[in-house]
């Protein structure tokens, strides 16, 4: 362009800019007669400018500073940091730079992720990262990029990760579908990784193709498990909120929104099901090459994730997307998390069976759709015949309903219940069958209900229902296995056996179910069906009696439980279950409701029993749970408790109680979101248990989510207005809301029923509302209830906190510590102690409890 032209353009542009649209046209017409090119140039500039008066007004300087802030002044390549020889820079992520290094001690290559000073700048974030890294370090799985640890050396903070060679899934996809067979293989591996992490209570929160690496051998590795959370939390508190972070105002990490679940976008608390959604989005893209919610702007993507259904899955290279795969992916992508897979293992199961079917008819997927439509139809027909006629029907989920004692003798109850539980236990070990946990069906105990109705409400594919009767000397067990799809009976049998043949009975029934529902079960699985926890039916019977009482334990019958378990052990000293039962029994004796055995003594006894149970049968989930509770409540050893709980969950993900206890551990170790997620899992798995539901309420209260905690307690009270624990939790919520009269109203009633339970919050409430006299009366009552080795010290500490008497509060907390009071583990978690936080004695005490003040 000529300089002269440019100057003319400039003049015309500024002159026209001041005019309105109509005048502009007239002006340009007049100003450049015959010079269409000039006029077009000026008009295009005016058009480009229209409505974009703010274009570039926001300086990029701030962004530049941020980049400067994030970047290391120079590359670390070639340097030696601690035992690591830094080899090469691999890349950079939001957390910091990643380098390839050699661990000179072990002679292996590792990837070091250096954390930017933004992340580790303060101790809080550092601690979080160390914690996260530690919990992820426990994951060992072929599809999870292992984290070896977190180190600090020469002023650098870094996470040591397994070095994986390969491309990210994002790079592999690159807008092109990967093909159905490939996609299913990746999907299965991904689901397997996620299921493993979930079993350890770890949510990924940021699953996306960029976080997934595929090795040249086709092995999938998921990176950065659990690390997103710290970054996310850090961002909520961090200094960087600029126009470019789309949703930072709501506290959301503004990573790639395309894979976020609706609840994540709404900045709600996340549970495992959020990962399922993200996984669905990744799978969708793997199959089709397109993102499920592809839009032009972040705002539109967010809106699409919240409201629109993704377009049907297609892949344009001639592959046919099997409708089953489509169904699986869309189920992951349901907006309502209740409608998605409720666990990654469920998803994994469906993917696996799809994968296996794919192996059978692999070429079917590869064949262009047009070529042999007729053949395909034939194949379908054959396949249908094959599935229906020749092979047993395939059920994925089974509910074993409580076996109903139809004899007139209530002494048969323990046996019918024990049988039910053991059958569930055995069948749970079949990898292709998902069996509802006992806690999920126990609510149907003692009720004569239509098994099909129960099955429908439990949403299972098959139901096993049975009755137990006594005829003369013989036990008569009748069982029916029902197909929920049409109500037909898949199998039925009537056994009449001598009482000492109960063990054979278990074996026969579980074999019968397995041969119908899991015919492909391998040798090891079959072996387990035949395995016996004890060889002695009398020992088993004693155990069943104890178990049965445990479910309905009271202060009065609790010692009978001990007697049964001890007799079981006397008969068969190698029977692991009663040892675990005894561990639980002893621990119960250190609670206000059941007894006042000193903590030291309980610790010794319970630990012995739990270790014994684990020693006898390391694969017994409840043994690990019991040991975990010992470590949590009595040893205050968080790391080991966590190990036991995650082990128990890995052994049987469907058992509610390890989730329940694990939730408490997560609460006190500063992971409130995970704690809530675990408590919800427990409650989902034990829908009839108010205790499990109350675990959710408590986790919410500890997380200081007072409104949800109040609602949660309200839900329990709606079912059972007299539930004292629900009232108790609700009163604590009122205390934190400073609604003292409301709290006092509940607590005075509660106090009349159970002094030791309500004393602390009631005294606290009196103290806070200036009624020192009444608080003193409560203290007097507490004094009277106390015994030399059981001084209700923590109760007194709470009351003195309410009275504002910190010295006394700490005096009693110290006493509580000396007595090793178990609920002291909530010192830093329970908001009731907030007033004490500023005091240096608080931090000191917390540290002695292995808690982070």
């Amino acid at each position: 362009m000529e300089v002269k032209d440019w100057e003319r353009i400039e003049t015309l542009f500024h002159a026209a800019l001041r005019l309105d649209a109509e005048a502009r046209a007239a002006y340009l017409e007049h100003a450049c007669p015959g010079d269409e090119a000039l006029r077009a140039e000026v008009e295009s500039l005016l058009t480009a400018f229209r409505g974009r008066e703010n274009f570039m007004e926001e300086p990029a300087f701030d962004l530049g500073l941020k980049v400067l802030f994030d970047s290391k002044a120079e590359s670390l390549a070639g340097k030696v940091i601690g035992p690591y020889q830094i080899l090469d820079r691999l890349g950079e992520g939001g957390m910091g730079e990643v380098y390839l290094a050699e661990d000179t001690r072990l002679g292996r290559k590792v990837a070091l992720k250096f954390l930017s000073s933004k992340l580790v700048g303060d101790n809080w974030a550092r601690r979080q990262l160390v914690k996260e890294a530690q919990s992820v370090a426990m994951l060992e799985h072929p599809n999870i990029c292992a984290i070896h640890g977190f180190e600090e050396a020469d002023g650098h903070n870094f996470i040591i990760m397994q070095y994986v060679e390969g491309d990210t899934l994002a790079a592999l996809i690159g807008g092109q579908p990967l093909g159905v067979a490939q996609a299913i293989s990746y999907a299965t591996q991904l689901a397997s990784a996620v299921a493993e992490a979930h079993a350890h209570g770890i949510i990924h929160r940021d699953l996306k193709p960029q976080n997934i690496v595929v090795t040249p051998a086709g092995q999938v590795k998921v990176l950065d498990f659990g690390l997103a959370k710290t970054v996310q939390l850090k961002h909520e508190a961090g200094p960087l909120t600029d126009d470019t972070s789309q949703v930072s105002k709501t506290g959301l990490v503004a990573g790639t929104v395309a894979y976020m679940s609706p609840e994540q976008l709404r900045a709600e608390r996340l549970d495992f099901r959020s990962d399922i959604f993200s996984l669905g989005a990744v799978l969708y893209e793997t199959v089709s090459g397109k993102r499920p919610f592809a839009r032009n702007s972040h705002a539109e993507i967010i809106s699409a994730i919240l409201t629109s259904r993704p377009p049907p899955l297609t892949c344009d290279d001639g592959d046919v997307v099997p409708s089953e795969l489509s169904r699986i992916i869309f189920k992951c992508l349901e907006k309502d998390k209740e409608q998605r897979y409720q666990s990654a293992s469920e998803l994994l199961y469906e993917l696996r069976s799809l994968h296996e079917r794919g192996e059978l008819s692999r070429r079917g997927w590869r064949r262009p759709a047009l070529r042999v439509a007729a053949l395909l139809l034939l194949a379908l027909l054959v396949a249908a015949l094959f599935l229906v006629g020749l092979r047993p029907r395939k059920a994925h989920t089974l509910a074993v309903l409580p076996i109903v004692n139809v004899s007139a003798d209530p002494a048969m109850d323990p046996l019918s219940e024990g049988l039910t539980e053991d059958l569930i236990d055995k069948l749970s070990h079949l990898s292709t069958l998902r069996v509802k946990a006992f806690t999920a069906v126990s609510g149907y105990r003692g009720r004569q209900q239509d098994p099909l109705e129960v099955g429908a409400s439990l949403r299972v594919d098959a139901v096993l229902a049975g009755t137990l009767d006594q005829q003369g000397d013989l036990l008569v067990l009748q069982i029916r296995l029902l197909d929920m799809s049409d109500g037909s009976q898949l199998w039925g049998e009537k056994y009449s056996v001598q009482p000492d043949q109960v063990l054979d009975l278990q074996e026969k029934v579980s074999e019968g179910v397995a041969s119908r529902l899991a015919p492909e079960a391998g040798e090891n699985e079959r072996k387990f069906l035949a395995s016996r926890p004890t060889q002695n039916h009398e020992a088993l019977n004693e155990y069943y009696q104890g178990r049965n009482l445990w479910e309905k334990r009271t202060k009065d019958n609790i010692h009978e439980i001990k007697a049964h378990y001890e007799r079981a052990i006397q008969i068969d000293a190698s029977f692991a279950k009663p040892y675990a039962g005894l561990a639980d029994y002893y621990m119960q004796l250190n609670t206000p409701a059941f007894g006042n055995m000193p903590a030291e003594e309980v610790l010794k006894k319970a630990r012995y029993m739990a270790l014994k149970a684990v020693g006898l049968d390391d694969s017994l989930p409840e043994a690990h749970t019991s040991l975990g509770v010992v470590k949590l409540r009595f040893e205050w050893n968080w790391a080991e408790a966590e190990k036991e709980f995650t082990r128990a969950i890995a052994l049987n993900p469907d058992d509610a109680w390890p989730h329940y206890w694990y939730s408490q551990l997560l609460s006190i170790t500063g992971r409130p979101d995970d704690a809530i997620a675990q408590s919800r899992q427990a409650s989902d798995l034990a829908p009839f248990s108010p205790a499990a539901k109350l675990g959710v309420c408590r986790a919410l209260y500890f997380a200081r989510q007072y409104d949800p905690a109040a609602n949660c307690s309200g839900e329990v009270l709606a079912d059972d207005a007299n539930n004292v624990i629900a009232q108790y939790i609700l009163s604590y919520v009122y205390l934190k809301r400073r609604a003292y009269p409301d709290a006092i109203k509940i607590l005075e009633k509660l106090y009349a029923k159970d002094k030791s339970l309500a004393a602390a919050p009631l005294g606290f409430a009196y103290g806070k509302s200036g009624e020192a006299g009444k608080a003193a009366e409560v203290l007097k009552d507490v004094q009277e209830m106390s015994k030399p080795d059981y001084s209700l010290s923590q109760e007194r500490a709470i009351i003195y906190t309410g009275l504002g008497d910190r010295d006394r509060a700490f005096e009693w907390l110290e006493r509580s510590h000396a007595e090793h009071f178990t609920t002291l583990i909530f010192l830093t978690t329970d908001p009731i102690y907030d007033d004490l936080h500023p005091d240096s004695r608080f931090a000191d005490l917390a540290r002695r409890l292995n808690l982070t003040p």
Binding site: L17, A171, V253
Partner: protein, 188 residues
């Protein structure tokens, strides 16, 4: 760190037309900006808006011996800071794009910085390209954009740096933006 006198020498030399001095000056200023960025980010709370001018001024005061420089030197110094920022962002955006394309298995993205760069880096690359062409066409307008957008300077400050009237800067800025918007395709 280089002494203020050394940096001042370089600045004066460059002002007198020595291009090599600029080459040596740039990394020194960049390092100082880098250091200051760290201090600022750590200090500032989110609700604070960053005072760009204050930051560059602080850099200038720290690096340069005030008794030996004129206001023109200061203005040039602001120009350098803007240029550095432009380059920093360009390199950053290029890195991003390269990492996206291949290899970067560990280029994991956890912060918003990455989400930004997806779109922003494309935008930055396009802008840089367009800005080069604009500078070839009209150097002063290129400078205005650089100082305003990458340096964060006000119209008045730019007028001071370039030795023209604020009205001229404002006019340059409008036309430059219209031109860039059209070139990048933003206006459509």
């Amino acid at each position: 760190m280089s002494s203020p006198s050394e940096i001042t020498d370089l600045l004066v030399c460059w002002n007198n037309g020595d291009q090599a001095a600029l080459e040596m000056l740039m990394p020194l200023v960049e390092r100082e900006l880098h250091r200051l960025a760290h201090n600022y980010m750590r200090r500032e709370r989110p609700e604070h808006t960053l005072q760009t001018t204050a930051l560059i001024n602080e850099t200038f005061l720290r690096l340069v011996d005030q008794s030996r420089v004129s206001w023109q030197n200061r203005a040039h110094f602001f120009g350098i800071a803007a240029q550095i920022m432009r380059r920093v962002l360009l390199n950053y955006a290029r890195d991003r794009r390269r990492d996206k394309r291949g290899g970067g298995a560990y280029k994991v993205s956890l912060s918003e910085a990455d989400a930004v760069s997806d779109e922003k880096s494309v935008e930055l690359l396009a802008l840089d390209d367009a800005l080069r062409r604009l500078s070839a066409l009209d150097e002063r307008k290129g400078r205005v954009v650089e100082l305003k957008h990458f340096g964060g300077l006000t119209v008045k400050e730019i007028a001071e740096v370039l030795g023209v009237s604020p009205v001229t800067v404002a006019r340059d800025w409008d036309l430059a933006r219209a031109w860039l918007a059209r070139e990048i395709g933003h206006g459509s």
